[in-house]
């Protein structure tokens, strides 16, 4: 019985809406824009999340980076940290011996330059590190070939493991393994290719890396230079590992108890905090715009519902005379306002589905199904809220007055 009366109300509403198609369309536009901004904003944030997660995959939560700088340190400016002592290769063995929480540790030196083959040149990011590096970066897998060995590292062999981007850039359809490339004035043998990594936050590519043995790097590029230590801990508690390594580093650096740390131990949570700050700013602004457009949309619906109630005053009178209770009338007009909003919501979801599909070509964006359901819910809610006052006014009309209304 209840189902049938709901259905009756839906039928009445649809009839009334289709009697004023253009008006309904205009009033629906506000809701469309509101829901559109909900769905697009949500889609964008979920795209950002996906990108961030993918970008951070090379920096897992059990990895620490020891360097001169402490990232995202609010207390210190970069120039205050600039003159701290460098990291030294000796620290690697030293730390490994002292700490019980280190699973793997590798020094990483870094610079950019050109890599070429047969006069074809491309930009590359060079890393000089030890074979243990692979253990500290489990997301980077060798697609073909191999990583270099300890012996190659110690001998300073001219071998290189290249990123996927360089492989396709210099070799196109050939297999690069066991072929030579030129770095600076020297020839290097390509011994391995790393799987495609994608880009970091859609900004810089991780596929243009060229990893060479640490010894080779020091011999051919620089003995001393920008360096950090990459540590994979075996501790469940990353903060404990951080404290322990900090203590060991202080001993290595011979710091007195009152002296400040002159090194930084960095963790992905620093990135995450930074990212979350950006995300919340976007979400905050987005929420404001969205709320505003939904309110405007809701006011539009309320307006149109007042008009609808006014126009149908006599109908309300007739229905009341024939036995409609105030509740019946209320539900009838609420249904109408919900249906109008639902139409707007569905329309908006369809549009944003198309838009997010187009954006997806440039930036990862897919609309989560939860978001679509949430938008439907929002539309219904707007329908209830903006329909409430007009419907309750309709329900309270005096049947005698309403019947007399021309």
């Amino acid at each position: 019985m209840i189902m049938s009366s709901i259905w009756q109300n839906i039928l009445i509403s649809l009839t009334s809406i289709s009697n004023n198609k253009f008006r309904a369309f205009l009033s629906v536009l506000g809701i469309v824009i509101g829901v559109l901004s909900v769905t697009l904003m949500g889609t964008m944030i979920s795209g950002l999340d996906q990108t961030f997660e993918k970008s951070m995959s090379s920096f897992r939560s059990d990895v620490l980076m020891i360097s001169r700088f402490q990232w995202f340190d609010g207390d210190k400016e970069w120039w205050q940290m600039r003159n701290r002592p460098r990291m030294k290769p000796e620290y690697v063995d030293n730390l490994r011996n002292r700490s019980t929480m280190i699973d793997a540790i590798a020094p990483v030196m870094e610079r950019s330059g050109e890599i070429s083959r047969n006069n074809v040149e491309t930009y590359a990011r060079f890393f000089g590190t030890t074979p243990e590096y692979l253990k500290t970066n489990e997301e980077q897998k060798i697609e073909s070939g191999r990583f270099f060995s300890n012996i190659e590292n110690e001998n300073g062999a001219r071998v290189v493991v290249i990123g996927n981007g360089i492989a396709t850039g210099l070799f196109e359809n050939e297999n690069p393994v066991n072929k030579y490339v030129k770095i600076g004035r020297n020839k290097y043998l390509v011994i391995g290719v790393i799987e495609k990594q994608g880009s970091f936050m859609g900004m810089w590519s991780l596929d243009n890396q060229a990893i060479i043995p640490f010894g080779t790097y020091q011999r051919n590029f620089a003995k001393r230079g920008w360096m950090n230590l990459r540590v994979k801990t075996n501790s469940e508690d990353i903060n404990l590992a951080k404290e322990e390594i900090t203590a060991q580093m202080r001993i290595i650096r011979k710091l007195k108890p009152l002296e400040e740390n002159n090194f930084g131990i960095n963790h992905s949570s620093g990135f995450e905090a930074q990212y979350n700050a950006i995300k919340f700013t976007i979400a905050g602004v987005g929420f404001f715009i969205t709320a505003l457009s939904l309110i405007v949309g809701g006011i539009g619906i309320m307006n149109i519902m007042f008009v609808s109630v006014k126009e149908r005053t006599r109908e309300i009178g007739i229905r009341k005379a024939l036995g409609a209770t105030p509740f019946n009338i209320m539900v009838q007009f609420l249904t109408e306002s919900i249906i109008i909003c639902l139409m707007g919501g569905v329309l908006a979801i369809s549009i944003s589905f198309i838009i997010s599909d187009i954006i997806n070509d440039f930036f990862p964006s897919t609309m989560p199904i939860k978001l679509a359901l949430f938008s439907i819910l929002i539309s219904v809610l707007i329908g209830v809220i903006s329909g409430f006052i007009p419907s309750s006014r309709a329900s309270k009309l005096d049947p005698i007055e309403a019947l007399r209304y021309e």
């Binding site: 009839t15 009178g317 005379a321 024939l322 209770t325």
Partner: protein
């Protein structure tokens, strides 16, 4: 003798711009089953207020209104709607049909509010339309029907819930004389079948159809004649 409707010492006051208008001023009226009553009175006599009162569209300021053992003067909006739905069939001067709905849909409306299933609703609405001779006009909208036909749809709608009374307000007022006679004939037939009919009018010719004529003046029953 028991009455369907029993109005005792009914008062209905309106406040119009700070001045109290005594539309009904101590009115008593009893109506039995299967009566055919006409209510007459000049404008301002309280005739319309009385009709709204009997129709449970309005409640008295003072006095008691008993309708088949239910106390209407104590009812709230929802209860009034329910009693209108179950016990009163309205016929209006201006028909008051829903303009965008077919005759059948119009007749169905009271049954919707009585929570009757769709199938039974359609069956009963059709039956009711057949009773007023509109079996071939069921799917026409009001603007495709003549005045007399529209009023017959309204009568079908009034009958569809098998009400205790039929309350008609100037039912012939908007009709030409031929259609008016037709409608009055339908009322006579309905009365012969056992229905209780209350006819509000200011035309004496129309009022004479009824078996009992009540004249309202200054919010009271002035005369109550059986013919």
């Amino acid at each position: 003798m028991s009455f369907i409707i029993s109005l005792k010492d009914i008062e209905r006051f309106y406040d119009v711009g700070g001045e109290v208008v005594r539309a009904l001023d101590g009115l008593d009226l009893n109506i039995s089953a299967n009566e055919y009553i006409s209510i007459m009175g000049p404008s301002g006599s309280g005739k319309s207020t009385l009709m709204n009162m009997i129709g449970c569209l309005d409640t008295p300021t003072n006095g008691t209104y008993e309708f088949e053992n239910e106390y209407v003067h104590e009812m709230d909006e929802g209860q009034l709607a329910s009693i209108r739905n179950r016990k009163i069939g309205f016929v209006f001067q201006t028909f008051n049909l829903l303009p965008k709905s077919s005759a059948l849909r119009n007749v169905e409306v009271p049954l919707i509010y009585a929570n009757i299933s769709k199938k039974e609703r359609i069956d009963r609405a059709k039956e009711s339309l057949i009773d007023v001779g509109l079996e071939d006009r069921m799917h026409h909208k009001p603007n495709e029907l003549s005045g007399g036909q529209r009023q017959r749809v309204a009568i079908a709608r009034a009958l569809v819930n098998k009400p205790s009374i039929i309350l008609a307000d100037e039912p012939t007022g908007n009709l030409d004389s031929k259609s008016g006679v037709e409608i009055l004939n339908i009322f006579n037939q309905l009365h012969d079948k056992g229905n209780t009919i209350i006819l509000v009018t200011h035309e004496e010719e129309v009022a004479k159809n009824a078996k009992r004529m009540i004249l309202i003046l200054d919010g009271k029953v002035k005369s109550d004649i059986k013919n």
